[in-house]
């Protein structure tokens, strides 16, 4: 956390541009420095319109101010639906969903991944696809009635290689 100066009771954040520099070096994070905080994204964001706690513009400003710990450990970057409506509307061509994906990747590297993402990632790296458990014989019958092949033939070898190469010991909490 930010170092606590003795005589200063409330812990005020000291602005710094290092976190913003790190993000702008991450693939997808290059555009963050173009943001002029006009708020067009937040006006278009459906998540923002349905919950008080999520404001894309505010999250970007926290990055620009250098609030590294708070942003990386927060759930907010994971609330973006990557629907990209903000990107269509942004006059400065800032790709917010790309930036938040870059923030997620950096957070993951430092061990912050929401449980629901972690579980799904483990499942995909195990089965090679998402709905292995959900494919019961009911669904098989429906496919059979429609004349569709019931053997979906998903490959789960490939993902094991990726798991060993990119996820072993890495993203575990």
């Amino acid at each position: 956390m930010t170092q606590q100066t003795k005589e200063q009771p409330p812990i005020n954040h000291i602005p710094s541009s290092t976190f913003a520099k790190d993000i702008s070096r991450e693939p997808g994070g290059e555009g963050i420095m173009q943001c002029i905080q006009c708020g067009m994204c937040t006006a278009s964001c459906m998540v923002a319109s349905k919950t008080e706690r999520y404001r894309p513009r505010k999250l970007i400003q926290k990055i620009l101010l250098g609030k590294r710990e708070e942003v990386l450990s927060s759930e907010l970057p994971w609330l973006c639906m990557t629907c990209r409506l903000c990107e269509e509307r942004c006059q400065e061509d800032v790709d917010l969903s790309e930036i938040f994906t870059a923030v997620r990747e950096m957070a993951a590297r430092e061990g912050y991944i929401p449980p629901v993402f972690q579980n799904t990632i483990d499942k995909v790296l195990e089965d090679g696809w998402l709905l292995n458990d959900a494919y019961t014989d009911f669904e098989e019958d429906d496919r059979d009635d429609l004349g569709l092949d019931t053997d979906l033939g998903w490959n789960n070898e490939f993902v094991k290689k990726l798991k060993k190469k990119y996820f072993e010991g890495g993203a575990k909490k």
Binding site: Q8, P10, N12, H13, I14, P15, S16, S17, A20, K21, M33, Q34, C35, I36, Q37, R57, K58, Q61, K62, L64, L65, G66, K67, E92
Partner: protein
């Protein structure tokens, strides 16, 4: 002056779209006017100042050979010249026209009382018709315009105006109170949007001016006296060191006295540490490749700019305006200095980098990782200085964060305010001043460079806070206005001057002392000597006429009779026209 022939008055009541007709019953006013003595035509029209309205006046003058016209519309300060020209085009003397203000003085300020507003409109039209009947034909007066200009102030605007005028073949007297030309821009290192410094821009201008034989430069000098009228001003310039005074005669004047950067005492700890300085002071620092902390001489590592210092403060007289140049100047300075420091912050209320190429400066600064943080208007950043260490605490509105920072240097983007001697200048050239203290133009949109003192132009920051490019644009405009007058060689002046009636004058000399312009002297050839007005010097203020104990002085176009008949028309309208007056 033709004697007062029988008045045939045309009354034209304007709707001004809904601006007047929205509150005042213009038809009823026109109907009432048609019954007033001397009125032979009365109508209402959608837009009197439009071509249709002007054509209507000309046609009616010819058709009904009207010899007086009353237009009830907007303020005469706006369209009196327009309608005077229209009646003149129809062969009627311009001084036989009178205008009634039904918009600014009636409909716009009595919107919720239509009946009383209509009644007021009727009274004002009745007053104007009464006056119109007594208006007299006055010859149009012309005076020559001396082919030389006085430019007051040697900043970038003054230099530009001087060069434009001199290059068109007219002499210029350039008066500068400091000991060298260049003004504020002269000592700026960060000019925008081009990468030049102030010196790069100013020095070539000064060189060309010095080479021009038509320009006379008077440094360390101020205008000490100024009289005369358009085309024929006599100016006294005093050298501040030698106290020597020189007199000149000029045809036009361009005021480019510019601004002064606000000394923000009491703002953000200014004065409590040499490391807290204004943007102007930063610009004046000798250019070097490392920015040094004034108190320690070490390189600056952490730099903070604070915007709107002494600007945009509602309710604080002279500080309510936006100084317009600071956002762009701050973005440029922050962008330039960012590479030499570890962190650069800009604390702002709003960002207004509106000029061409200025938004790019803002974007460049952000791209270089200058941190922009917005503070709330009613909770400005706090600066404390302890043992030489500066600490800033503030609330970032955009992130909802309480922030603090310990910068090595704080730069305050302070307001542009009028120079300390602006009062003196305004009295010398009888210029009025707007709410922010700068000089008022004649009309903010229709005549932004001329002033109410005919022949005196204003340009640059003297008129309002603005950046250097806008000042130069003003200067070339004002120069063109001045040259326009001088190229004509002559100009029309008001013929509404004072005139002494010899047989009434008791030569008591009261008027001689009353006249602020010394335009009245004693005519000794007349027996007994009586007062006489040198018309060229008279500014038609009317003080002499009011002072004269024997009412021997007539103010053309504003005679006692023309005034009292309006008072009478309001308070006790003539019985035969109305069939029964009040009280």
């Amino acid at each position: 002056m033709t004697e007062n022939n029988e008045a045939r008055i045309g009354v034209f009541v304007c709707h001004c779209g809904h601006n007047i007709a929205g509150t005042v019953d213009v038809k009823e006013v026109a109907e009432m006017a048609s019954k007033l003595p001397g009125v032979v035509f009365s109508t209402d029209e959608m837009f009197m100042c439009s071509d249709a309205g002007q054509v209507l006046i000309r046609e009616k003058i010819k058709e009904l050979n009207l010899n007086r016209v009353v237009v009830a519309s907007c303020s005469p300060r706006m369209h009196e010249p327009t309608f005077r020209r229209v009646v003149e085009e129809a062969g009627m003397n311009r001084y036989l026209f009178d205008q009634v203000n039904l918009r600014e003085h009636v409909s716009w300020c009595h919107m919720r009382e239509p009946e009383l507003a209509t009644e007021k409109a009727k009274d004002l039209v009745r007053m104007s018709v009464a006056r119109a009947a007594k208006l007299e034909n006055l010859p149009v007066k012309r005076v020559n315009v001396l082919p030389s200009t006085l430019v007051v102030g040697g900043g970038i605007a003054g230099l530009r105006a001087t060069l434009d005028i001199a290059e068109r073949g007219f002499d210029v007297i350039l008066v500068e109170k400091n000991s060298e030309l260049g003004g504020n821009v002269g000592n700026w290192t960060h000019l925008f949007p081009s990468n030049q410094s102030g010196v790069d821009v100013i020095v070539p201008l000064i060189k060309t001016i010095k080479k021009n034989k038509r320009v006379k430069i008077l440094l360390d000098s101020k205008v000490s006296a100024f009289e005369g009228y358009i085309g024929n001003f006599n100016v006294t310039v005093k050298n501040l060191n030698t106290e020597k005074e020189e007199k000149f005669e000029v045809g036009t004047v361009v005021i480019t006295t510019g601004f002064e950067p606000f000394e923000p005492k009491g703002y953000y700890g200014y004065g409590e540490s040499p490391d807290i300085l204004t943007l102007a002071e930063l610009q004046k620092l000798p250019p070097s490749d490392t920015l040094l902390v004034p108190s320690t001489g070490k390189p600056v590592k952490k730099l903070v700019f604070i915007g709107c210092v002494g600007s945009r403060e509602p309710g604080v007289k002279g500080h309510e305006h936006c100084s317009r140049h600071c956002c762009s100047a701050t973005a440029k300075a922050a962008g330039d200095l960012r590479d030499r420091v570890d962190e650069a912050l800009v604390l702002y209320q709003d960002i207004r980098t509106y000029g061409s190429g200025h938004e790019e400066l803002h974007r460049l600064a952000r791209k270089k990782h200058v941190i922009y943080s917005k503070f709330p208007k009613d909770n400005k950043p706090k600066v404390t200085v302890k043992k030489g260490k500066i600490k800033l605490t503030w609330f970032d509105v955009l992130a909802g964060e309480n922030l603090e920072f310990e910068p090595d240097m704080v730069v305050l983007s302070t307001a542009m305010i009028p120079p300390d001697d602006v009062e003196e200048t305004s009295h010398l050239f009888s210029l009025t001043r707007s709410g922010d203290g700068f000089f008022n133009p004649e009309h903010i949109k229709l005549a932004p460079l001329t002033t109410h003192t005919a022949g005196v132009m204003i340009a640059g920051a003297a008129q309002a806070a603005k950046n250097a490019s806008e000042s130069v644009i003003d200067a070339s405009g004002a120069a063109a206005k001045a040259v326009g007058l001088m190229a004509q060689g002559e100009v029309e002046i008001e013929s509404t001057v004072a005139h002494v009636l010899p047989d009434l004058c008791s030569s008591c000399h009261t008027c001689l002392t009353a006249c602020p312009y010394g335009a009245i002297t004693m005519d000794v050839e007349h027996d007994p000597p009586v007062a006489v007005v040198t018309e060229a010097k008279c500014h038609s203020c009317g003080t002499c006429a009011a002072a004269c104990p024997s009412s021997a002085i007539v103010m053309y176009h504003s005679t006692d009779d023309q005034i009292l008949t309006m008072v009478e028309a309001f308070l006790c309208p003539a019985p035969e026209a109305e069939g029964g007056g009040s009280a």
